[in-house]
Amino acid sequence: MNTSAEIQQAAPGAAPLLELKGISKRFTGVRALDHVDLDVRAGELHVLFGENGAGKSTLINVISGTFPPDEGSFRFDGEEIRHLSPQRARAIGISPVFQEFSLVPSLTVEENLFLGREISAGGVLRAGAMRKKARALIDELGFDLDPGRRVDDLSRAHQQMAEIAKALLGKVRLLILDEPTASLTERETGRLFELIAKLKAQGVGLIYVSHRMREIRALADRVTVLRDGRHIRTLDAARVTDGELVELMTGRRIDVLFPAIPHAPAEVAVDVEGLTLADGSVKDVNFHARAGEITGIAGLVGCGKSELVRAIYGLEPVVAGTVRINGTPYDAPAPRASLKRGVAYFPANRVAEGLALSRPIRENASMTALDLPAVARFGLLRQGSERSLVGAAMERLKLRPPNIERPAGALSGGNRQKVMLGRALTRDLSVFLFDEPSVGIDVGAKLEVYEFMKQLVEAGAAVIVVSSELPEVLALSNRLYVMHHGRIAAELAGPEKTEQNVLASFFKEHLATEAA
């Protein structure tokens, strides 16, 4: 590998803001970081790029003082720093936005913003001062966020906003963003990018982690590629192609980011009429999905798109409307009944709703198939048969490492998603509901997930994809619904299915209300 983008040593004189040399970090049995070097300059956005489990988050944790490194030197603003604690890091202006949020769900947004940095006098909180400051910050950021709400009442997108706001409270010299857009939609992403530009202009250094090529293209000044905990190369973003980056990251060539999917729409598999949910997040929705095609659902944060598919599967209480699966009415949906009817759901939050992390992969993959004779007879498990069933599924999905007896918690994000997908292969299913199928997984894994969807469609299944990542739904779906405020705002197909049109329907209603 020898690209023209190879970076020369940083110009002498301009000492980097952050300079790491030979950082190593070992967890029991895992070398998460192996002599990694990294430097970040003031006013620069430095992208960390690597597969799931490459060590990006670990590096960020070291930089923000959460883990002490086993070895290596750490310089910030030219000064050697030892024994960095989270408090110290924040004090010197290192502000991380973590991938696993550092929010306390039972506290309000405001309480979370100030956590660890409360304004207080002699141990007594000064609520008024904090409220004012929180309001001002949120307004300045332009986030649609109510500082008085409890974090566990918020959608993941709003939690992400709260996490970003938390990082920007107080003086910031180095902002670290670990996959900040993983659950943001276009509009919030736009706001965030504006903000990033502003911070760069103010001379703030940024470290940015993302699996989305588009963002790297749009934002990066330099890119550092990590693989298996090792520093592979640091490149100038302007002089490197996507293909080169992906190849550096994975060690193999990946040509396309989205596979071409041959849609062959057949009979209607899912038919929803006048669906309204108890919490009002979905109102009077009509919608259908056909076998042999991918039906996409896009929409802004909180528009109810997740709730729609969750209701079909039986996770949200329905108050009105009918659902038909393959033509037969389906009353009172519940997960077990849905699976029996051939409907599967893949949740967006794989840790909270998908996997039992401390249990073996085998058990996680066969969790939805425990009623099948291949796995159990008369309530007794058939472990040999189960093992071969799951083993075959995981082989097909190219699980790495292929050992199905390891706990699911030991897997990287992409491989966790594969375990979830494996469930689809353990039983006969005809309808697949994907909620944010590629959140947090690397480019290579994404492609494998898309390939998997392609195989499903080819086999004649109905696939419904809910996604906040617009390029993804646009590229995958044959027909695309756009939701807005719990209702279907548009149905796009064929040549109408463009980014402009989707964005237009996102904002159509605002324009209407503004005009009124």
Binding site: F98, V104, L107, R191
Partner: protein, 345 residues
């Protein structure tokens, strides 16, 4: 873009008129408990006029005071994600230590009651703090679950209390401690009620207005988040257990003053279970991060009144636990169902 942002802001807030938020603020914070309490009070007053007699009310308030004091500390520990099974044993230990110390000081400094009382109270509170410290350090340093640590210290503490006394009540406290502290009344109310009120007010203040209170919520809500946000969680964890120990000791001292002797039979499993019950029925989540001491106090009052009511209604004392159990479960179940329904509307 800015215009868009602000209009979306207004639009989305209008479209979702804070469904869960309002459910939380009203029911989540207060719950059905006060309503249930009023129901019991009104019902009992209608059935039996003895119930609202001044003496009965004083008895109820005083007995609720002991429970409230212990339950406040327990609630704090539970909010921080822990569990304190040792409170009952601490009540007994503090009682015994206080009485023994006073007895010894009274022998050494006869007549100097102020010194004797101060010394005894300090020793009692100190013994509670010591047990709390052991609990806290084990939980925070050895990272063992609070349930197991305090199960261990419960046994050990009870053992020490019994070793000190051999089970025989400890006498020899100055009469003024019993007369002017234990059985005294100010403006018609016994000392214990004032102490409980002060504890409650301080705890409400601590929970809402202090860094410590905030950190306790944060640690219980998500300890990892608290750590990465720069909250030193060990000290605060230790703090909750020490506070719980001290408050349990305080209740033990008040009981000692009221009864007039130090007893290793105070507290026990009963006080421990009751304090946890008061906290949990008062809306403190055993998963941590949630709960308000004022509601816990209401719940302590509820439990005390329930016991009193069953006695006034002349219910067979063997059957009383059956009523108590059913009402306890029903109260919490109603609360839970009500919350679920409200959150849906």
């Amino acid at each position: 873009m800015n215009a868009h942002a602000s209009s979306t802001n207004a639009a989305s807030l209008a479209a979702r008129p804070g469904i869960t938020a309002s459910g939380r603020s009203l029911l989540g914070r207060i719950g059905f408990l006060p309503a249930l309490l009023i129901l019991v009070v009104v019902g009992m007053s209608a059935v039996d006029p003895q119930f609202y007699g001044p003496i009965n009310i004083l008895n109820i308030l005083r007995n609720a005071s002991f429970l409230t004091i212990v339950a406040c500390g327990q609630a704090l520990v539970i909010i921080a994600g822990g569990f304190d099974l040792s409170v009952g044993a601490v009540v007994a230990l503090a009682s015994v230590v206080t009485a023994k110390t006073m007895g010894m000081l009274a022998a050494a400094f006869p007549g100097n009651d102020a010194l004797v009382i101060a010394g005894g109270v300090a020793a009692g509170l100190g013994s509670g703090a010591a047990v709390g410290l052991v609990n806290g350090l084990c939980v925070a340093r050895l990272k063992v679950s609070g349930f197991v640590v305090t199960l261990g210290t419960m046994s050990a503490t009870a053992g020490v209390a019994l070793m000190i006394t051999s089970g025989i009540p400890v006498y020899g406290m100055p009469q003024s401690f019993v007369r002017e502290f234990g059985r005294a009344q100010f403006f018609g109310l016994p000392t214990a009620i004032y102490v409980a009120l002060i504890v409650l007010l301080v705890m409400v203040f601590v929970q809402r207005r202090t860094l410590f209170g905030r950190y306790v919520y944060a640690i219980g809500g998500n300890a990892d988040a608290a750590i990465v946000s720069g909250v030193g969680i060990r000290r605060h964890l230790v703090g909750t257990y020490v506070l719980s120990g001290v408050l349990a000791a305080l209740a033990g001292i008040l009981l000692t003053a009221q009864v007039g002797s130090g007893q290793a039979s105070f507290g026990g499993d009963r006080m421990m279970l009751q304090s946890i019950a008061a906290a949990v029925i008062g809306g403190v989540s055993l998963r941590g991060g949630v709960g308000r001491v004022e509601i816990v106090a209401v719940s302590a009052l509820f439990l005390t009144i329930l016991g009193n009511a069953l006695n006034l209604l002349h219910i067979d004392s063997r059957l009383q636990p059956v009523f108590l159990g059913v009402i306890m479960v029903a109260a919490v179940a109603l609360d839970e169902l009500g919350r679920r329904r409200k959150a849906r509307v």
